[in-house]
């Protein structure tokens, strides 16, 4: 396995097909633990996106009703009915979007190496954060998180644009366990 190590021949690694890399990572004894996002996070997202959608929809409906009043085209009940439609539609869209986001949200702990987070429904991002670059970690709980015994683990690096990564919907115990597992032990040497 030592001869096949990527660092011996960096250029070769780029052209190798994905399957060989997968086999290599299994050979290279990287233990991958999937981090289960709590179902309560789905509830939270559903509530959040329904709220956002209905607020947007109500705003649109209000604009429409004001315009309709100016034009005096229809009577009041029709106007009210039509202007509540965007609110309902966008709330439904928020409900669906929350479900999709929850399905695509996945975190993984690569033991000894770092953390991976997959996020996003249409604009998907796969963020890889190595342990050797972690500056510090925060465990944060909002009021609803406390009710559902969830927490958000924030990982900070020394980068500028993407300097922090948030893992949401972790059980509180697991968040604390992750924090001690990932905590930078040796003092990072500043060169």
């Amino acid at each position: 396995m030592a001869l096949q190590h990527p660092m011996n021949d960096p250029m070769q690694d780029v052209q190798r097909p994905a399957e060989a890399l997968q086999a290599d990572s299994e050979h290279a004894r990287t233990e991958i633990t999937a981090l289960q996002t709590q179902p309560s996070q789905l509830l939270f997202w559903r509530a959040f996106y329904v709220l956002v959608g209905s607020a947007l929809g109500l705003a649109l409906g209000a604009v429409f009703s004001v315009l309709a009043q100016e034009l005096r085209a229809w009577d009041l009940t029709t106007v009210l009915a039509v202007s509540s439609l965007p609110g309902l539609l966008l709330a439904g869209a928020g409900w669906v979007y929350a479900g999709l986001r929850f399905a695509h949200y996945r975190g993984e702990l690569h033991r000894g190496e770092g953390v991976l987070l997959l996020d996003g429904v249409w604009w998907r991002s796969e963020t890889w954060l190595p342990m050797a670059r972690l500056q510090h970690l925060d465990v944060h709980q909002g009021p609803l998180d406390r009710h559902w015994a969830m927490a958000t683990l924030t990982l900070h690096t020394a980068g500028t644009h993407d300097h922090q990564l948030r893992l949401r919907g972790l059980p509180l115990a697991q968040a604390h366990a992750l924090r001690s597992a990932l905590m930078p032990r040796a003092t990072l040497t500043h060169d």
Partner: protein, 526 residues
């Protein structure tokens, strides 16, 4: 070689209080002068102002007298504060950059302002305002002598222009090293730098922006614009009325050209003020850049702290056969560089302007394993299609809008003419996309990843994989349809507005392979 020395308490220069007063002097100097010189009758406001000034001077005097520093074993001890005394222990290992700034008043009085910057870069560890030139030089040498030196001294040959004789900078040969000049700019180079930069336009825009915030200046500007606008409109009207639209067009073009020439001249003047006497020296593993005409700046950065390099080559640079090598240093303060005439204390450029061979020689100093001629540039996948779709989002509605306006009669173009314009612009746009796609490419050489892009303004982004902070594979729905991913990476000291590395349109397997390779390289501590 460290000498055992008795820790002696040193103080700032006796004239430091002048610089500590700063802005207060400027606002209160006028009434003071009026009273002292002209002997006018002083009303109460001016008297109060003078009292405030006297009080502030006394305070500044006492405060700068209370500032002292000591060189202990392995650390710098700073004592400051008048009412609340603070003692700070700064280990030598935490001082990463020592930079100096000398404005005109500093140079007249023979002093300098010294900044000691730390690894985090958020705030300087210590700002010594001001020290005498000799004291600053000896302090810098001592602090540099304490840095662990990893590289043996090497002298660059042939690549740097012959160093301008450093008259007046007769640095006594330090204990351990003699500096080697990596790059120096002659007056001709600074002239080319001014001609290729648009800093003149930037300065004018910023000056207008700040001037507009003042009511008085805004009204003056509006009045002036009104008068000249009226005159311009009359001129054009006369031309158009006399059916001589060619003359009007010619006048407009000449006016535009004159404005452009004036702005470039301003850029040249600003380049001279900012970069006069530019010299990049290497002391062991530290790079020091010295430049400035009125305000002299001496900024430093250590080689292992350089995170990301970028070579810029605009259309103007290509006329002169030059380029610009910029660098991002870990711990630099984001976006606080100065844009105007004053040179900033930040270390942002290894070479503001250089020939290609010089730029590559400088890169070789920073990345010895990078062999530019042997690079294998790999083209990106489906770049043309991706950019076409993304830009068509707003280009097509614009085209349709133009055609609709001409059909309705909102603009003075007949429909066939509008169609011709749209087709012409569309053809130019497609040609631009095709050329852009042809040039964009990436390359991997050992631990270094390079990405080049652009057509008129070409950029080469160079990062070292072990110095990356995080990785990201990003895809939009269009990307997934085309089977590509974007590989993004972040480093220290970059810009908050864009990522350090952002390679679009990599085939999925290639993106994942690169990601794996970078991931392995990032497992070690930086």
């Amino acid at each position: 070689m460290t000498e055992a020395r008795q820790p002696q308490t040193r103080r700032l220069h006796p004239l430091s209080f002048v610089f500590a007063l700063g802005g207060l002097i400027r606002s209160l100097a006028a009434p003071v002068l009026a009273f002292a010189v002209l002997g006018r009758s002083v009303d109460r406001i001016h008297l109060i102002g003078m009292l405030v000034l006297a009080g502030a001077t006394l305070w500044a005097l006492l405060r700068t007298r209370a500032y002292s520093y000591e060189l202990g074993p392995g650390e710098l001890l700073v004592r400051e504060g008048l009412l609340d005394r603070t003692q700070r222990h700064i280990p030598f290992a935490r001082i990463h950059n020592i930079s100096q700034r000398r404005m005109l008043l500093h140079r007249l009085l023979g002093v300098t302002e010294l900044r000691l910057e730390s690894a985090s870069g958020a705030k300087p560890e210590a700002v010594m305002r001001v020290l005498g030139v000799e004291a600053a030089r000896s302090l810098e040498q001592i602090l540099r002598g304490q840095q662990p030196e990893e590289q043996p001294e090497e002298h660059r040959e042939g690549s740097a222009e012959p160093a301008t004789g450093s008259a007046g900078e007769a640095a006594p040969p330090s204990i351990s090293d003699t500096p080697s000049v990596l790059h120096a700019l002659s007056s001709g180079e600074i002239l080319r730098l001014g001609l290729t930069s648009n800093r003149g336009l930037l300065v004018v825009v910023i000056a207008l922006g700040t001037a507009f915030q003042q009511e008085f200046l805004r009204r003056q500007f509006a009045a002036w614009m009104g008068v000249s606008g009226l005159w311009l409109r009359n001129q054009l009207f006369q031309q158009v009325q006399g059916q001589r639209w060619q003359g009007a067009l010619l006048e407009l073009m000449l006016a535009g050209l004159l404005l452009f020439v004036l702005l470039r001249l301003l850029s040249v003047v600003l380049a001279f003020v900012r970069y006069h006497g530019f010299r990049l020296e290497q002391h062991g593993e530290q790079l020091i850049a010295v430049h400035g005409l009125l305000t002299q700046v001496r900024a430093g950065a250590r080689l292992p702290r350089l995170q990301r390099w970028q070579i810029d080559e605009t259309w103007w640079h290509r006329r002169f056969g030059r380029c610009r090598l910029g660098v991002a240093v870990a711990g630099s303060m984001h976006g606080s560089g100065s844009h105007g005439a004053e040179p900033g204390v930040q270390f942002k450029e290894l070479a503001p302007i250089a020939r290609w061979q010089q730029a590559q020689a400088l890169l070789k100093v920073c990345l010895p394993t990078l062999d530019w001629p042997a690079l294998q540039w790999q083209p990106l996948h489906a770049v043309f299609a991706r950019r076409l779709w993304r830009q068509a989002r707003w280009a097509l509605p614009l085209a349709f809008g133009l055609l609709a306006c001409s059909a309705v009669g909102l603009i003075a173009l007949s429909v066939p003419a509008a169609l011709a314009v749209v087709l012409l612009l569309g053809g130019a746009w497609l040609a631009y996309l095709r050329l852009w796609a042809r040039f964009a490419a990436y390359a991997v050489a050992g631990d270094v990843v390079l990405y080049r892009s652009g057509l008129w303004h070409r950029r080469w982004v160079i990062v070292a994989m072990p110095r990356l902070q995080s990785l990201r594979l990003y895809s939009t729905p269009l990307d997934r349809r085309l089977g590509v991913r974007s590989l993004q990476a972040d480093t220290q000291g970059g810009s908050k507005s864009h990522r350090a590395l952002d390679i679009p349109c990599l085939k999925q397997e290639i993106a994942q392979g690169l990601r794996t390779q970078a991931w392995q390289a990032m497992q070690r501590a930086p």
